[in-house]
Structures are given as C-alpha cells and as structure tokens.
C-alpha cells in the first residue's frame, strides 16, 4: 500500500514539474506574442545557403529543412562508409603479426578515441582546408588528365571539382534499364545459389551477377545512344566557382572525413574485440583443414566475428549520424547548422528544436531499422 502511494506520489511530482514548465512556456509565449503553430514553415527563410544555388532567401523554411536533412544524410552515409572500411583495416591490423602494422594501428586507435570529434572536424575545416596548404579557388590547382587536355581534378581550399555524370536525355529510359539490370542480377544470383545447393556445382554467383548487370547496362547504354556522359570538372570564366563536373565543398569533406576517421577508431576496437571473441578452436580447426590465411578470415573467423560485432557497430553508426550535428561549428549546411541560423533569424525556437529532434529521431529509427534487419540475417539460425 505504502509502495503504491510512493510511486503515485513520484508520478504526480513528475507531472507537476512538467505542468509548471509547460505552463511557464505558454505564459511566456503569450506575453511575447509568439504562436505555437508550424505556419512559419511556409515563410521565406531570408538567408542564402552556400553551395546551394537553387536555394534563395525567398525559399520557404520547409525547403531549408529538406536541404538540411539531405546534407545530414550525405555526411552520415559517407562517414559511415569511411569509418567502416578504415575501421575494418585498422581492427585487423591491430591483430597483425607484423609489429609495425600492429603498433601503428594501436597508436591510431589510442589517439583518435581520446580526442573530441569536434576537434577533428574543426581541424579539417580550418587547418586542412580554409587556412591549410591549398590555394583559394582563384588559384586552384588543376590536375590535368594525361594527354587529353581535360582537367581531372580541381583542388582548392573551399571546394574540389571531380568528374561527374551529365545527362544528355533518355535518362528515364536508362534508369528503367538499370533497374531491370539489378533485378536480373538478383534473379541470376538466386539461380546460381539454388543450383549450388542442389548439385554442389561451384556457384560463382558474384561473377555471374556482375556479368549480367554489366551486360545489360552496356547494351542499354549503347542502344540509348549514351544517355550519360562524363562531365569533366572546369572552373568558370572568372574562376569564382566550379562551373561543371561534380563539386564537393570543404564543409562536407571536413564533416564526413573527420567523423569517418574518428569513428574508425571505435569500429576498429569493436572489430578487434569480436575477432578475439571467436573461440581459438575455430582457428585451430581451420589450420587443421590447411586453409590459407585469407580463407581462414573470409570463411571461418570473420563470419563469426561479424555476428558479435554487428550490434555495437549499429550503435557506432547511430553515433556517427548524431555526430554530424557537430557540423554546426564549421557551417556545413546540415540540419543543425540551418536550424541554428534559422532560430537566429527569428524563427520560433520551440518548434524549430522540435523539428530538429524529430529529424534525428527519424534518422536513428531508420538506421537502426535497416541495420537490425542486417543483424537478423547475420545471426545464427538455430535449428
């Protein structure tokens, strides 16, 4: 009886505190004549976003939110890819027999794990790019493609130009044929797998699927008369911007690169831990089967280590997405930066921060959903 009373009291206290806080909020908003609706989303943002020419100060706030979400996702995806690859290499490197490789990997992990990710981001943005060794866009370094008179790469302290793709029409038809190619490749993959299970023939499914994919792509590319051409990077006449090709701005490279490097140290530790967690008997068994080093890792150790590694790796992916918010310190136009600018421009703070939190919660849910499906597929099926 007393316990129930105590718990009811606790709930009532929590409720009263919330009521007090929200009551104050309503009073203060009423006093300052700010409304609680989301109508401001349709008003113009009144500021320009760098590197987004199609966005202007008259664009509504909801478009700003979309730009922010897109940039957060971009930095997150590239950061996760970099962290995954680098982390795997360093994690395995730390277990290497080679003294140099092991020590270098250990030093990398101990260094990056113990400094704030924000310091790494700021270092990239200011010491590598803005005030770093590269010249500004006016004097940008243009690296030529040998013997063609074209530029392969434009390097400057603000943005880099790399070759991109440009459509010359028929893009929709090519997109459809690409989709067909992917489906066909998947069907071939299943067919080879089934065949292997039935007859024991080697499946070679990677080769087969890739072959089908490339064949369909090449045939449709030629048939459609080259719907996509390589767009070589080029500076504009006044050398103020990169006119063609694909341009990557330094903010993106700082955030994705720095978070990739930082998170790789955590990924490496997870990989190392999970490889060590695979029972030694498995390794001994693969020695007994005379598997090569590569075969031992590829077919015996890594599949089992991955099972242990995936849940903590999911956590790291989530952390990386959340850490893209640190871009606010270097002005890369992702959702946190834009929200901060927007609040500074007089948009209502409560609604803006609520949108910001909902965006991150959405990302967290999405990423954990995708990776949990991966996790379920990797887990041991107990019969």
């Amino acid at each position: 009886m007393l316990r129930v009373a105590g718990q009811v009291a606790a709930v009532v206290v929590v409720f009263l505190i919330l009521q007090w806080l929200i009551g104050n909020l309503v009073t203060n908003y009423g006093r300052l004549n700010i409304s609680f609706d989301f109508g401001f989303l349709n008003q113009p943002t009144q500021f320009q976003i760098a590197n987004h020419p199609q966005f202007n100060p008259r664009s509504p706030v909801w478009r700003m939110v979309l730009v922010g979400v897109k940039n957060t996702a971009l930095a997150g995806v590239f950061g996760i890819a970099l962290a995954g690859v680098l982390g795997l290499i360093i994690g395995i490197g730390r277990l290497s027999q080679n003294w140099l490789a092991a020590k270098l990997s250990a030093a990398y992990v101990e260094f990056f794990r113990n400094i704030p990710p924000l310091v790494v981001i700021v270092f990239f943005a200011f010491a590598v790019f803005l005030y770093g060794p590269l010249p500004n866009l006016r004097q940008a370094i243009e690296i030529p493609l040998f013997g063609t008179g074209r530029t392969a790469l434009i390097l400057s302290n603000a943005e880099w130009g790399v070759p991109g793709m440009r459509s010359t029409g028929n893009l929709l038809a090519f997109g459809v044929s690409a989709l067909v190619a992917v489906v066909a490749a998947a069907v071939v993959w299943r067919w080879r797998t089934r065949l292997n299970e039935r007859s024991g023939e080697p499946h070679h499914r990677v080769l087969w699927s890739l072959g089908v994919l490339l064949a369909i792509l090449v045939v449709s590319y030629v048939a459609l008369g080259g719907p996509l051409v390589i767009d070589w990077p080029q500076l504009s006449e006044n050398r103020r911007r990169i006119a063609s090709g694909f341009s990557i701005n330094s903010g993106f490279m700082s955030v994705a690169g720095a978070l990739g490097l930082y998170t790789a140290s955590h990924v490496a530790e997870i990989i190392r831990g999970s490889i060590l967690a695979v029972p030694w008997g498995q390794t001994e068994a693969s020695f007994a089967l005379a598997l090569t080093n590569f075969q031992r890792y590829r077919f015996v150790v890594l599949p089992q280590a991955m099972r242990i590694a995936v849940p903590p790796l999911i956590n790291q992916a989530l952390n990386l997405i959340k850490n893209t918010s640190l871009a606010a310190a270097v002005g890369y136009a992702e959702i946190t930066t834009l929200t901060q600018t927007s609040i500074g421009n007089g948009r209502p703070a409560v609604q803006s921060v609520v949108i910001l939190m909902v965006v991150y919660l959405g990302f967290s849910l999405l990423v954990s959903l995708i990776l949990n499906i991966v996790n379920r597929r990797l887990q041991l099926v107990t019969r």
Binding site: S96, N98, I115, V119, W280, T283, Y360
Partner: protein, 465 residues
Amino acid sequence: MTASTLEPSPVQAPVGGPLTWVRSRLFPNLRSSILTVLLTPLLAYALYRAVLFFFVNGRWDVVTRNLTLFMQGTYPRDQQWRIVTQIIVLAFAFGVGAATSAASQVDAAREAGLPVVKQGFLSVLKRFWSVIAFVLLLLYFANTATPWLVMGGAIAAFALGSLARFIPRRFRSVGWTLSVLALVAAFQVVAGTVGYSWMITAVVLAAGAWSAFKFEGVEGRRAVVYRGLAAVAAAVVTYLVYMQLVFPGVGWDHWSGLHLTLWVSAFAIVLSFPLGLILALARRSSFPVLRWLATGYIELIRGVPLITLLFMGQYILGFMLPQGTDPSSITRAITAMALFTAAYVAEIVRGGLQSIPHGQTEAALALGLPTGKMMRMIILPQALRAVIPALVGQFISIFKDSSLLEIIAIDEFLGVRSLVHAQADFRVVAHAETLVFVAIGYWAFAYAMSRESQRLEVRLRAGRK
C-alpha cells in the same frame, strides 16, 4: 577453467639478438615483409613532417603568447590569484584523497591477511603519465615564472595532503571529509561563498560529522539519534559561519578556457550520476507509469544528439522558467549535459542491475530485508561495481563532448581558439598549431581516464574469479 575452451598458447618471445626480433616481427613471411616495406617509408615521411611541424616550421608562439588565454580564457586577470589558490587547494584535496584511499586499502589488505602491495611513486607516474606530460608541456610553453610557482605550490600541497595517511584508522572518514571539503573550498575560492553555496559545505560537513562520531558505547537507536544531532549541528554551524563570511567571487559565467572545461565536465558528471541512478531504478520499477516515463525519457534522449539539448537549454529553457529567473548560459549548458548523460548512465546502471543473479534478490528477501535496504545493501553495491568501467567510459565521453559548448558560443578550451585567431598576428596562420595543442590537452585527460578504466576493469575481473 572448463575443458572445452582452448586458450591460444602464449606467443614465444623470440630468443636471440635484435636481428632475430626483426626477422620474426617484421619479416616473418612474404606478405608481412611487403607490408613492412610499404609502411616504413610512409612512417618515415610522416615522422619527418611531424618533426618539421613540431620543431622547425610550427608557429608555436601562438601558444606561448596565449597560454593564459588557453588556460583561463576571458576570466578577469586581476582575479587570477583565485585560480592559483584553487589549483593549490585542489592538489591538497587530491593528496588527502589519495593518501586516505591508499591507507584504507592497506587496512583492508591487513584485515584479509593479504600481503600489502605498496603503490610506488613510479606507478603513479606511469598511470597518469599523459596528464603529467601535458603539464610539463604547459611549463615548457610558459613565459613567466607564475606557472612554475603554481606547480611548486601544488606539489607542496599534495605532499602536505599526503600526510593524511597518518590519520589513525578510527578517524579514516575524517580524511575523506577533509578531501571533499577541500574540493568544495577550491570551487568556492573562485566562485565565492555567496547565495546557496553554504548548502554544499553544510551537506559535506553533516555527512562528515555523521560518519566521524560513531558513539560506539551507545545503544543502537540512541546512537542514530546522536549522530543525526551531530550532523544537524555541523550543518547549522556551517550556515552561521557562512552568514558571517563576506567573500564574493567570480561567478562561472565569467569562466572560460581549460579551467571551464574541467569544471563543466566535473559538474555534468557529478549531477548526471544520481539522475541516471534514479532513472535506472524507475525503468526497472514494478509500477508501469513510472517505467514508461523513464523508458520514454531514456529512449528519447538517446535518439537525439547532445547539441539539440544544448539548443533547448540556450533557446527554450529560458521560456520554461518564470519571468525574471535568468540562469547563465553555463548553468543551462551544464543542466543540458547532465540531463543528456543521465540517460546513458541509466542504461549502463540498468545493465549492471540485470547482471546481478536473481538469487541475490531471493536471498535478500529470505533474510526479510525491505526493498529499499535490499537495493542499498545487496543489489546496488554489486551492480555499480560491475559497471564502473562503462561509467568511466561515459564520463570520458561527456568530457570530450564539453567541446560542444563552442557551438553555443561559450569559450571553453576549444572555443578559446576564436579569441586567439581574432588577434591580428594569427588571423590566417597557426590554425593547425592551435588545434594540435588543444587536441593534446583533451587527449592527455581522456587517455588518463581510459587507462584508469582499463585498470579498474582488470582489477574487478580479477576479483570475480
């Protein structure tokens, strides 16, 4: 050890000269040799560039000329004596704490009849080498004699505090009280003794009085009453003394630099722990509404980045308080950091609670212990002990995350950068130097903490076997 687990045989240390070592660790087979050949020039070039940067080309005058700015930021210079005193009093507090801790470990070992392992001076150097190296780096960069004097004073104060090991065993708790009291005093030397600051001191002294006066000759319940009276008396005396003191200080909205980083992290850590504990217990409560509230809070906070909470603190918290109350932006930031970390602490503690075998609960119930006592005396001590390493990891994380205050325009250790590069001499140069120096600073503290947590992990695991 069960028969089913095969342990790898320990790697045999190669016998023979350095050549054998090189062959077995760098060129054992073709692939490893290729790796060595590829890595060596890369490493050599990196080292060459690093040496150039650190000793030849680096504009380190950006640090030497702004060392005070990095350490204390825009803190008023004429009040610097307060920070100097604070460092010395802190050293005293650590000295007393370390000595008391060592003495009680010796006691425990004697009681259990185990050999007493003395912690040598060298082992302390080894454990905290990164912080010591950073302090030496600071002294190297120092232009004036002040840092050296402060350092000397701190060492003397630490040695003085170490005398606490001679406090007789009966009064061991006095050592702890003295250590915490010195910590509080160190804070108040700078922050002043105005407002509610008497409360912290009163709580410390009351707890100290409670544990110092045991009233061993007195009957059970009477002793509790006497100890309670002693505690209340200590609190009242503290209040009366503080009312007489007129010692205004420099509030923390005027702090910045490394000084602010360290205090903000300390406060966030100290505040987040009890909050997290309450949340963890609420999440495992048998009362559904409480459980849902706690789960909802924890999952919400863990789904968003810290910066959104800092934004809430900066832009919204002001609206959520009655008109007129206007906490400083540092108070709001600390609140946000503590609320954020509490959710993570709660999950860690919950993990610890779940790791306690149910037999412990059953045994406690069989002894007729009420729930509160069971938690306090049986479950929590085991659960918390098991999760100490994970908690330290979380605290490292909040220490690193304190750099986010830069984004909301609070000049902590990283944020001082903007003041340094506002100077005409360093507008476009020496950005790398500043950031490397700042990174070394963060690294020194975080690395020492992570080494401590690894040490604890090993020790706790040893205790389990």
